[in-house]
Symmetry: C2
Subunit: 115 residues, 2 copies
């Protein structure tokens, strides 16, 4: 294998792997999109994402909070309410989400044209 090619490959692989580490899995980006679209309560987010379970959503929200992509705010009152909002840092993912959306639309068109 050409050494230059190998170096090029790694310079691409490492940052993509870093990014995938944070947004990996089938749910994280969908949860972020749901929250950034205005769903702030647990049940709202759950209802907006087909087939997600409460247990999975709960775990994913924790991961996203740890990675500074969402804020979890507890509001006093009766009952206590918990709001989720996306952070400024999430905004840096905008290009990733847009590129995935564009490709997803294109991919569905391709599959429809084939069938």
């Amino acid at each position: 294998m050409n050494k230059q090619v190998h170096t090029d490959c790694l310079s691409m692989l490492v940052p993509v792997q870093d990014a995938l580490c944070v947004i990996n899995g089938k749910w994280k980006l969908l949860i972020l999109i749901s929250i950034s679209s205005g769903n702030s309560r647990f049940r709202e987010i759950e209802r907006s994402i087909p087939r997600i379970t409460s247990k999975v959503l709960s775990k994913e929200l924790k991961d996203l909070e740890e990675n500074l992509l969402i804020n979890r705010t507890v509001r006093d009152g009766y009952p206590v309410t918990i709001d989720y909002t996306t952070t400024d840092y999430f905004m840096t993912l905008e290009n990733v989400v847009q590129a995935l959306k564009d490709w997803g639309i294109n991919h569905r068109k391709m599959l429809t044209a084939k069938s």
Copy 2:
């Protein structure tokens, strides 16, 4: 929940979910990057991606072939050789890969600055 917001959310969610269905998991994009960087043989690809196992690579290559993102070519000879190359269709994923790469670089900088 506002109905308009819900519709906006779904118009974003569905294509992103479609895209994630195809490139989901921690390996698929990394394998595509490796092949598109010039690694065409199974062992080359395996060596270029830290921590991937033969079994996983084998399964992922099959999935990628089914999704028209790579070609698998069997070359007669002794021994028979098998080459993997990315397809033209993979090129449509360029923006996704680039956006992930840019974000990964940025994310690592952010983590380094914090520590």
